[in-house]
Symmetry: C2
Subunit: 327 residues, 2 copies
């Protein structure tokens, strides 16, 4: 299988997107995000997304030529309209504007609507941590999780990300979705003809199932049972309700070219820890955690994979590379 440098991988993806009705700056933004995901070992948000993204741009489900725009309805709020383009140019705009607003106001939020798949939410908080800011990201996705006691998926897998700067070293980056496992794990079990563990998913009646077919027709189990489903509701209300985006149950798939744009949302909240004089405290807790055998700070594995990818490049499957080149 061929190995690509990060720069070559970015060129490969950007030029494929340009050939599929996406303008240069947007294609670059998307390519940067997907390569960064792949480099961090987040394959579900990396190269594998290119064919699907490109097809959605080609048919106009994603507007590859959209220009995100921003308004400031209040001194601490940035309202970003992703204009049914890719999420990444809108996220770039938000993270470019947030540091100045956050540093003057102490706290600020960027609410993104008419958006799409946000990719690795951890990259957003990592960028803001690079500006010395503590931040949270909430994003919604198409339906995957049912409310506690119910059986119909009306919440997405709804990632929460959190970033926190550490003086003199890489930030703490938390990035987790609220489903117990990723849907890819169920798809893989189905392909192998295997059963899935009983706590991964629920069938269409809301009952635990070990049959991957039944699971794919049902809903994903939230992490931690009813509490996890409740957190998914919270993220849905923040990422879509507050921002004015489409709820999970109103959103079309991020994966295929069918239907209208998904129109999902993202909410980013950033705080300047210098306002409280507390920036040095984060390292105290990081030290307590790292003093324990077997424990490590979230994000550390991704940084190690990223270093390796920068040094050695990233492997891409022949078939996927050929598919991207043929787009």
């Amino acid at each position: 299988m061929p190995t690509l440098s990060l720069a070559d991988a970015e060129d490969l993806i950007a030029s494929a997107l340009r050939r599929c009705a996406t303008r240069e700056d947007n294609a670059r933004s998307v390519a940067r995000a997907l390569v960064a995901a792949e480099a961090d070992g987040q394959k579900g948000h990396g190269f594998s997304r290119v064919p699907s993204y490109a097809k959605q741009a080609k048919v106009g489900k994603v507007d590859g030529n959209a220009a995100p725009s921003a308004a400031l309805p209040r001194p601490g709020l940035i309202a970003v309209d992703a204009a049914h383009g890719f999420a990444f140019p809108a996220l770039d705009l938000a993270t470019e504007m947030l540091p100045e607003v956050t540093k003057s106001q102490g706290i600020a939020a960027a609410a993104i609507k008419r958006s799409h798949h946000c990719g690795v939410a951890g990259h957003v908080v990592e960028k803001l941590a690079g500006e010395g800011l503590v931040s949270l990201v909430f994003a919604n996705t198409p339906s995957a999780i049912a409310p506690a006691g119910g059986s119909v998926g009306i919440f997405g897998t709804n990632p929460i990300a959190f970033g926190c700067p550490l003086e003199g070293r890489a930030p703490i980056v938390i990035d987790l979705s609220l489903s117990k496992v990723a849907r890819g794990g169920i798809l893989a079990a189905k392909q192998r003809g295997e059963k899935i563990p009983e706590d991964w998913a629920l069938d269409a009646d809301g009952k635990p199932t070990t049959d991957p077919e039944a699971a794919l027709k049902g809903t994903m189990a939230p992490l931690g049972g009813a509490k996890g489903a409740t957190l998914a509701l919270m993220v849905e209300l923040l990422a879509a309700g507050l921002t004015g985006a489409q709820f999970a149950a109103e959103a079309s798939s991020f994966l295929d070219s069918d239907g209208p744009p998904p129109g999902t949302g993202q909410l980013i909240i950033a705080v300047d820890p210098r306002a409280f004089g507390s920036a040095a405290r984060f390292a105290v807790l990081a030290g307590m955690l790292e003093a324990q055998d077997g424990a490590r700070l979230p994000g550390v594995r991704r940084y190690a994979l990223r270093d390796k990818a920068r040094r050695d490049g990233i492997v891409i499957a022949d078939a996927l590379k050929a598919e991207i080149q043929a787009l």
Copy 2:
């Protein structure tokens, strides 16, 4: 067992606290919070806390005469010093100041340090929802949860609360701690001489245990395994790291009169949904949820119990009433 009206219960608790080195306004604030918890069926944060609170005030572990103070280091940030008093007067101050700041800035935060047990975090977000605001509360508590892969508790059970107004009806109120179960469940099993389920707690070596004794010497299992422990880290960094409060591992117990003040922290973030014109959207998701058999909005059970308590009063055990009267 005697039944008390809410007003009588408040008088009973306030006068006990006044006799234990707590000034009138602080005693009223604490009594209101504990009665509200009891009325909502949150017994772990209700009457049962009075003897322990009073003893802590008597020996000065909590300063019953403290006056919380607030500064505005930035236009959107309120820095509250609870001055090692009870948390409730500081939370009252924060929730009184937040609506005006949030409505002008669009988003605001109150960071409380040198604080104590925050009680029912859901009451804070409910009050802000009454002002039309969406809000989040993060609070830390003394050590209970170990990091993923580790075995030493350095995070609290660390509640997250979220509130969201619904036009013409009571708000959505989410309030959950990040441990799988409350420690009280383990204490009860120990008293009954019973084993506990394997997924409730970990022993001092970080291994799952069914022995309640070993569990009490170890740590509480986080909800949802490693992801839950990571959320507990996030809350610790927000509620204590950012606010400048004591981390879980630095904090003394909320329950006994030993040691210095716990000095824990709370972070409240509030957003004005009217800034995005999205306030009516929350009811859309609430409607989708309530259309499902078996699903109900978080907070609904508490509202029902509260209505009943307002109507019928609250039962208090004879022994506890006598203990409070004797303080």
